[in-house]
């Protein structure tokens, strides 16, 4: 299950790195799980998505646009919930799981829409938006 999920996570990495070293990265990850413990290894893998995968995808709109959409939606939704709680006249935060669930759901939804639009735009030769 862990190895399967890590292999899916590799999709976020630049294609050349994945093609050349993907199998070895998955192998190293699996060995690390056995030797270092799940929590530590997954923490490191999550950090590498932010520090290695996403910066490596700066030129790939199919990853960059959904990632920006996810981050912005998460930020806006969190701010809305926080402001909404304060506007109500008393500080009554929704339970943490409701709050996190709402933010993650909305962010994933927007990121998915952004991905579909980006893919559609990339495939449609009749749409050419001015770049400057």
């Amino acid at each position: 299950m862990n190895a399967w999920f890590y292999r899916k996570l590799l999709m976020l990495y630049p294609e050349d790195l994945r093609t050349e070293f993907g199998a070895e990265m998955a192998l190293a990850f699996a060995e690390d799980l056995d030797n270092m413990g799940h929590l530590r290894v997954w923490w490191c893998a999550a950090g590498e998505v932010l520090t290695v995968a996403l910066p490596g995808q700066r030129s790939n709109p199919s990853v960059l646009v959904p990632a920006i959409s996810f981050a912005l939606t998460a930020l806006i939704e969190s701010a809305e919930i926080w402001l909404g709680s304060h506007q109500a006249g008393h500080v009554a935060y929704p339970p943490i799981f409701d709050w996190a669930g709402l933010v993650i759901f909305a962010s994933l939804l927007n990121a998915s829409v952004a991905l579909v639009v980006t893919r559609f735009y990339a495939r449609c030769s009749f749409i050419r938006l001015p770049r400057n």
Partner: protein, 111 residues
């Protein structure tokens, strides 16, 4: 990679790990962690991104593994350019250590 620019921590640790002999990726990762006293968290992505850069810069190269080794693994070896880069980096660090010792003495005298 600029020939004489300071090495990034991951590149330095990988070159240092390979100075002890040919290794595959996971062995490099373990050695790099040991060398840094486990203070530098190097994961598979950092490792292979750096390996890719070092291969492009001709500082390491891929070599055949041992005869009965795991065929899924690739083994790497330091090139002469890699040895030279490691030598320059170690000299830079030694110089820094000398300066820091002098600074420590000066600080101790002034306090």
């Amino acid at each position: 990679m600029e020939p004489d620019s300071p090495l990034a921590p991951a590149a330095f640790l990988i070159l240092f790990a390979l100075a002890g002999g040919d290794k595959h990726g996971y062995a490099i990762m373990q050695e790099a962690r040991k060398l840094s006293d486990h203070t530098f968290q190097i994961g598979p992505a950092t490792l292979y991104t750096t390996i890719q850069r070092l291969l492009d810069a001709d500082r390491i190269r891929e070599v055949p593994g041992p005869e009965h080794g795991d065929s899924r693994r690739k083994y790497y070896r330091l090139t002469s350019a890699g040895k030279s880069a490691l030598h320059v980096e170690l000299a830079r660090m030694e110089s820094m250590v000398k300066k820091s010792k002098a600074m420590r003495l000066r600080l101790a005298e002034s306090s």
